[in-house]
């Protein structure tokens, strides 16, 4: 592959210690996106967004995860109190479910998420 490459096992600061690069490789998000109810606005490692109905979305990944038990974080965007769950994790997709926090009823909400874990 015609790309520049730096190989290093450790990053070392002049005074503040060192860091094994595995922490960076293993610890960085492998997929993330910000989406509205009808499209993806910003993303990485996602292939498509499916609107399954009010407050019910599926995000598909391009580079699959090695397991379907990966950890992730989600957020509802905006000022209203919203809850965003992720469910039905597959190695190539997750479902995002968005609710009104006070009532638990589904609602359309702009969301953001990031998924960590190992890639296949």
């Amino acid at each position: 592959m015609a790309l520049g490459k730096i190989k290093a096992d450790t990053l070392e600061h002049s005074t503040a210690g060192s860091l094994d690069t595995q922490y960076v490789v293993k610890g960085s998000a492998k997929a993330w996106a910000r989406s509205g109810s009808a499209a993806i606005n910003e993303s990485f490692n996602t292939s498509g967004f499916t609107d399954n109905g009010t407050g019910d979305y599926t995000i598909a990944f391009s580079s699959a995860f090695s397991t379907n038990t990966f950890p992730g974080t989600t957020a509802g965007l905006g000022t209203a109190a919203r809850s965003v769950n992720y469910s039905n994790s597959q190695t190539t997709s997750i479902d995002l479910d968005t609710f009104v926090s006070s009532t638990g009823s589904r609602t359309d909400t702009a969301t953001g998420f990031q998924i960590n874990g190992d890639l296949a």
């Binding site: 592959m1 015609a2 790309l3 492998k30 996106a33 109810s37 009808a38 499209a39 993806i40 993303s43 990485f44 490692n45 996602t46 292939s47 498509g48 967004f49 499916t50 609107d51 399954n52 109905g53 009010t54 599926t58 598909a60 391009s62 580079s63 699959a64 995860f65 090695s66 397991t67 379907n68 597959q90 190695t91 190539t92 997709s93 359309d108 890639l119 296949a120």
Partner: protein, 158 residues
Amino acid sequence: MIDTPEFQGTHLFDRLCWAKENLEGHQSDYRVVYEDSVDECAKILVPDPNWMACALQGGILPPVWVYHELARDEAMPTFTKHTRGYLLHDTEPMPAMTEEEAIEYLIMKDCPQSVWRNWDTGNKPKLVICRKEQLPGTREWRNAWKITEELSVTDLAA
């Protein structure tokens, strides 16, 4: 147009990093509307702009059958972890696609196989490719959206 490096054998994630750095996202006007259950509303698949850029560029994405193989592995009751991830990275990447070919690929990747393999069986199509302007302008009654029964599986090209 920038040339794609020789990516066969390179981890797909690294290819996506290259694409994010070098390709402009492409917001497609196409939408895929499908129904996978008579009891649920129609679902709408929207292509990711960065993914679409990769498809149009060529030399980045693996063939779609690779995803089907991984899905088959994952469906096994004994599945805990992928052992054939190399298929994503070592299989010869897809050449540049047109936007329409990319949508067909995405349907086969991200829609249930039960939908796209049998899209034209039944009284109306289970799947329709349309432009986003053809969708309702507001999300009122979103959970009641269905593919119209006026569409016939025999004259869809009209």
